[in-house]
Chain length 340, copies 2
DNA sequence: ATTGGCACTCACGGAACTTGAGTGCCAGCG
DNA sequence: CGCTGGCACTCAAGTTCCGTGAGTGCCAAT
């Protein structure tokens, strides 16, 4: 049904359309690509491709543009990761090298991705369900306020200020700190809360209620850290390249970008790293974003994907380039995170 | 030169134009506002106002629109803070009440401001030059990596991972922690770095170099925390209301929103709280943003402004409303921060 | 000083027309 | 049988050409 030449035609259509943003006709197609056949032949092939639903005409007597199905075929079969140029590789390396902080890594990644792909980039902060408690710090701020700091193995810090009815003396604070740490250090976050429930019992009755309060705050901090689904966004300015159709394509996307929950759905379930997921148009799990595509992959040290990162753009995007950039950045970030 | 009626006319023009986004003519003006005079009179007044540079015509035979100078006069002389409705006050209270975290306060404020003003909201994180060191925590992560955590009086936490040539034993870590804390706890961040420079001398020569390393990292953390100029942004989706002129008004703003440095310049030097600063069009310190205005004020407990927050929008914005909202949110946030 | 009247201007919108890229179909050719 | 050149047809987008009306500036009269 679809012989090699028809696939070549489809590929050519996708490439041209992505580049020019204009429907592409048979004549211009044979001019730009050396297909070795005449426009008439291409027209016949196009007719078949259209019948099969891979391309469509915006209106009669216009060129063809790929459908979502067409892009899908293109991505699945007709392209492989476009190798990065040396300059791009260097850019990635230098850009991410200087990062100190986890925050810093995330922010740099976002900017880098946005710059490489000229799209809107999204990087999810590493989820920490797999990480463990590194240290718990307890310190009195004032006579009636206590600060609880939770440090995780991936270097993130969660803090809680707790209002107390009265001050705890230094000794009790030290004991609390010690007991908390023995109970949870090295434990995965998933277990941490359970390990401290019985902690208040070890304390003198006057302190018991206070310790209960602290334990509750600790559990809250852990829960927050685990469910923490922060994302960083960059490259919104690239939205201008979306073209004219403001209300239908840009507005919903801008709205989605404010709804981090939606974004997380967009990034989707983490597949294994080095496997880039592409969602095209209607495949995106959000009705408003039928004209946008998402290219994402997960990242993280080893085979434990920590989180996802990717780019969002119009369905007419440079898939090979975006996929390559997303993949490369994800791998570099993974590497940096496992080093650190 | 400008009698009361002319000022009334200007006010009416600004209000109408802000509402309708269309040039306003003499006839519609007298219809909508009860000025008590005929259109011809208004026309004469308009001619004067135009001569003085307060209003202009986009083209001959169109209505008038305010110039930046016109808005300026309007803001300075013709308006006072529009009192908030009860619903708005309640919204502010409930919205900000539930905040736990400093991050949370900032994020909620941004969303709140964006919602109230239907503009793009910017909230600068409290700068901490005035805050003091609350606690310093030192903990070995692995045998060759040490974590340094700096906790400030305003509840922010800065962390540093330091790669060491070899492990420090628990005892030395404890001593280091103790010495660091005695040296800097309670000290303003501005002095903290200077207070630890001589710290290595107290240690055994083998540990000296390591401690020097830690001290350097500490100084870095302090510096980072002081110069930390993070901002949170919200309401980008409101940009759609900017109207059609995409490339000239929206694109540069989107770009500016990515450049946090630019944003901080926009928010401007902190004036005293409860004094709302308005920058209109060309007054904004960024050539690309000649069509946008910034309404900002500083916030923070007492008379120590910690940071600024505000909204950015088209010059044709609802100044009284925005100013009131910005002011109200700033005062609430200040209150919450001084409570916490 | 204010007003009604009047001639003038010009952006905007619709109608009619032209242009040209692109298509589908078909008959002929290797 | 697949490919090609030719041809008639379609239709979005651009162009030109009014007509309309909101709005202005000026002036003489109150």
């Amino acid at each position: 049904m679809l012989d090699d030449r028809k696939l070549d035609v489809l590929r050519a259509i996708v490439e041209d359309y992505v580049r020019t943003q204009e429907p592409v006709g048979s004549k211009t197609l044979v001019e730009r690509h050396s297909l070795g056949v005449s426009p008439a032949t291409v027209r016949n092939d196009m007719a078949v491709l259209e019948e099969e639903g891979f391309i469509t005409q915006p209106h009669t007597s216009a060129g063809r543009i790929p459908t979502d199905k067409g892009y899908r075929l293109f991505v699945d079969k007709l392209t492989s990761l476009k190798p990065l140029t040396g300059a791009e590789k260097r850019a990635i390396a230098t850009f991410l090298q200087g990062a100190v902080d986890l925050d810093d890594v995330v922010h740099r990644s976002v900017r880098l991705l946005a710059q490489l792909t000229k799209q809107v980039a999204i990087v999810q902060y590493p989820t920490l369900s797999r990480s463990t408690v590194r240290h718990v710090e307890v310190v009195m701020l004032t006579s009636d306020r206590l600060l609880l700091v939770l440090i995780t193995s991936s270097g993130r810090v969660e803090q809680r200020v707790i209002e107390l009815p009265r001050a705890l003396d230094d000794e009790t604070v030290a004991e609390l700190r010690a007991r908390l740490n023995t109970a949870v250090v090295g434990q995965p976050l998933t277990d941490a809360a359970a390990r401290v429930t019985s902690l208040p019992e070890a304390f003198h009755r006057d302190d018991k209620t206070i310790v209960t309060q602290v334990v509750a705050a600790f559990a809250g901090a852990v829960a927050d850290e685990r469910s923490d689904e922060k994302v960083a966004i960059g490259g919104t300015a690239n939205l201008v390249r979306f073209g004219e159709d403001f209300d239908r394509s840009i507005k919903p996307l801008l709205e989605a970008l404010e709804e981090h929950v939606v974004l997380l759905r967009l990034l989707g379930e983490a597949t294994s790293p080095s496997l880039v997921t592409v969602r095209i148009g209607h495949e995106v799990p959000h009705a408003q974003l039928a004209a946008t595509s998402v290219v994402a992959t997960s990242y993280g040290p080893d085979e434990h994907p920590l989180a996802t990162l990717g780019v969002v753009g119009p369905t007419r995007m440079d898939y090979p380039g975006s996929m390559a950039a997303v993949n490369a950045v994800a791998r570099y970030v993974s590497q940096i995170l496992s080093d650190a």
